[in-house]
Structure formats: structure tokens, C-alpha cells
Amino acid sequence: MTYKVTEEGNVSTVFLDGEIDMDVTDKAKEVILPLIDAGKEVHINLKNVSYMDSSGISVLIESHQKAIEKKTKVILKEISKSVLKVIMMAKLEQILNLE
């Protein structure tokens, strides 16, 4: 997995790339969670994520819950087909913010 972060006002966009599994979830959390802790609205762009398993889904849930706690939000953007399928399998499409 590789990533890039862009900033615009109070919005941080995290572009994730590659496959997200247990091997890289700590890295993903290290990128996303401090932004939420800083009170940023975080957009996670999943256009180039070709694979995500339950570990990756856990990162999305944890980020979503931390954002609620910090009174901000996490929005999932340009979700790839394969990731959307897993989100829907977990029946999280009504819980997470999808755009």
C-alpha cells in the first residue's frame, strides 16, 4: 500500500493505493487517525485500492467512530468496485459515509 495526503482548508484527503490487509493496517491508521485527532474532516479516496479485507474494513470503522467522537467526519470517496463489494458484504453502506 502507498498513500498520498493533500490538504485543502480543514479537509485532508488521503489517497490510498494498492492492497489493504493486516500487513498494512497499522500504516493506514498512522496516516488517518492523527488527522481525525487534529479535528480535520478526512476524505479517504479508495479509487486505486484493488483489494481490502476485514482488517481494512476495521480501519474504516475505527476512523468513522473516532471522527464521531471528535465531532468531525470521514467520507469515503471514489470507492473501487472491489472495495464497495466488501463494504456491502459487511452491510456498512448505511453506516459509513460513502460518496
Partner: protein, 137 residues
């Protein structure tokens, strides 16, 4: 076409990608399985992840785990072996989906994708756990 292929993998999180690549390669070569490849790879990877996470407390470990993928008369069988902490099948339950929390989804995914998920009580030589995932193709 019927086949059976197996490979051993190291117990660590980096192996998860190798397991996916091994599985994808097999499913890509089967016209009966290629359309279901993504789901099947996810099921295998989740089972392997559970071994690293639960049987070996996150690993790494010098033991190996074995993944065997077999197709016989439209019956797909995936056997996954490890020598870690013995699994207690009655304690392995998917979490309730309305209990929104990180973790616990892997077992649910496996159950969604496969027809049957069982731990074999009669073990093949040298292995501690033998998980069998089956699906009618």
C-alpha cells in the same frame, strides 16, 4: 477441469499477499472459478489471517501453514492447515452485524462466501488445525 494444488507459507502478515497471489493464480486458470475469484481469494485470505492473528498471536513464527485448493466435480474444497494454538470451533463465531466495531468480520465474510466451513477433528499428520471450506461451483 479437476485439480488439486497446495503450497506452504510462512506464518507472518507478509505471507497474506503471497497466499492471495497463489490463490488468484489458480482461480485464473480455471474457467469455472475465475468469475468467483475475488470472493474466494477473500475467504482464503481471511482464514489465513485468522491463523496468524489467533493461532500465532499475530506472528511471526517459524512454523508454516499450508493452503490446498482442490476442485472435483464442481465441488471446490479449500483445506488450510496450521500448527498453532488449537482452535475451539464453538468459540469461533461471526460477530453480529449490528454490533459495529473494528474486528470480527473475517469469519462472517468466510461464511458469506463459502457453503460450509468446518474444522476437521481427524487431523492430517503433523498439523494441529485443519479448516475445510467448501463451495458448490
Amino acid at each position: 477441469m479437476d485439480f488439486s494444488e497446495q503450497k506452504d507459507f510462512e506464518i507472518n502478515t507478509t505471507s497474506l499477499r503471497e497466499i492471495r497471489d497463489f490463490s488468484r493464480n489458480i482461480f485464473d486458470r480455471s474457467k469455472d472459478l475465475s468469475s468467483k475469484k475475488d470472493d474466494l481469494v477473500l475467504a482464503i485470505a481471511e482464514a489465513a489471517q485468522n491463523i496468524v492473528k489467533h493461532a500465532y498471536n499475530g506472528g511471526p513464527h517459524t512454523d508454516k501453514m499450508r493452503v490446498r485448493i482442490s476442485l472435483n466435480n464442481n465441488d471446490l474444497q479449500i483445506d488450510i492447515f496450521d500448527k498453532g494454538k488449537p482452535a475451539i470451533p464453538e468459540n469461533i463465531k461471526p460477530r453480529a452485524l449490528d454490533d459495529i466495531k473494528p474486528g470480527g468480520l473475517g469469519t462472517f465474510f468466510i461464511g458469506q462466501i463459502m457453503d460450509q466451513v468446518v474444522f476437521k477433528t481427524k487431523k492430517e499428520e503433523g498439523w494441529v488445525n485443519h479448516l475445510v471450506l467448501t463451495k458448490k461451483i
